[in-house]
Structure formats: C-alpha cells, structure tokens
Amino acid sequence: MTRVDNDSEEKAPARAWALGTAGWFVPGLGHLLQGRFVRGLLLGGAVWICFIAGLWMGGHLFTVGANEQGTSVLLQVPPMIANLGSGLLYVGAWFLGIGFADDPVHAARATYEYGTTFLLIAGLLNYLCMLDAFDISAGRKS
C-alpha cells in the first residue's frame, strides 16, 4: 500500500487562481500575462477562431431560459457549461444578443450544427487552456 505524504502537497498561490480566472475570462490572457506569448497566441487564437467560426456558421449558444419547461431545463445545463468556458466571448455575445436565437430559421441553416459544435468546442478547449495557465503559474508545469 502506498503511503500518501500530505506534507508534499502545496497549496496553489493566489496568483495562479487569478491567472487561471483571467485565462478563462479572456482566452489566452492567462498565458500572455505570464510572458508565454507564443503559447498564449496559439491557445487563445484556437479558441477565438473556434468561437468566431461557430457564430459565423450560425451556431447556437445555450442558456437556461424560461422557454423550457420541467426537466427539459436540465438538458440545457451541460451545453451551457461548455459554452460558458468561452468566458468574455459568451458574455459579450449574450449582451449583444448574438447566437442565442432559438428559431426554425436559424436551425434550418446548413451549417447550424457545425456552428453549434464549434461554439461548444471553443468553451471546452478554453477550460483546458485555463487549467494550463493555472498549472504553469502554480509551478506544476514548465
């Protein structure tokens, strides 16, 4: 049986939490603030391109609204969490009212499903980027 050494566990510094949050809110910012410019541009660029391409293709951003009834609200929660990973991009789209339309005209576009997938993937990839920025700042990763 392996003995767990609790003394070796280190708490992550507040800076790591701040940079992780910055990386979530603005994709790529967590790395840029640490001077990891190439990494930040690659990761942030991939997320931004995914999100913009998703909107351009007419994708749908999920939210828990008043339109759903009963337990169908729960079906909106997982994709909304994925969309929320885009941080400021999701909030900005919400303020501008872009991508939240839920009508047959939007859904009839040939690229609607592709766009929705791109928007989901942008958020999920940004969660990975956020964790990477956190780990680098906490010294767990080079």
């Binding site: 990494r39 690659l42 991939a46 997320v47 391409a53 997938t117 791109f118 993937i121 990477d132």
Partner: protein, 56 residues
C-alpha cells in the same frame, strides 16, 4: 467538400490546443499535435463511411 473543410478546421484547432497543453518539449508538442490532427481526420472519415452505409 465543405464538410471536409469544416472537419479539418475543427481538427486543426483541437490539435493545436492538445499539442500545446499536453507535452513538455517543442518536438513532442509538434509530433503529438500532428498525431491528434491525423487521428481526428482519419477517424472522422472512417465514421463518415460507416454511417454512409447505414440505412437510417
């Protein structure tokens, strides 16, 4: 053709992030990114052909 281009764009974005996040040296990152990119494309094409023959 458009479907393939969209799938390629998706594979590229995912491969860039996976490759950058997963490995420690630049050589390993590039190799892993290329591997992920190729896997997405090949698996996507294989799944596309399998679904093509399904009658529903």
């Amino acid at each position: 053709m458009r479907h393939f281009l969209v799938m390629t764009a998706f594979a590229l974005a995912a491969a860039v992030v996976f490759g950058t996040v997963a490995k420690d040296t630049n050589r390993d990152r590039v190799l892993y990114g290329l591997k992920v990119f190729a896997e997405f494309l090949v698996i996507g094409l294989v799944l596309g052909w399998i679904l093509y023959f399904l009658p529903f």
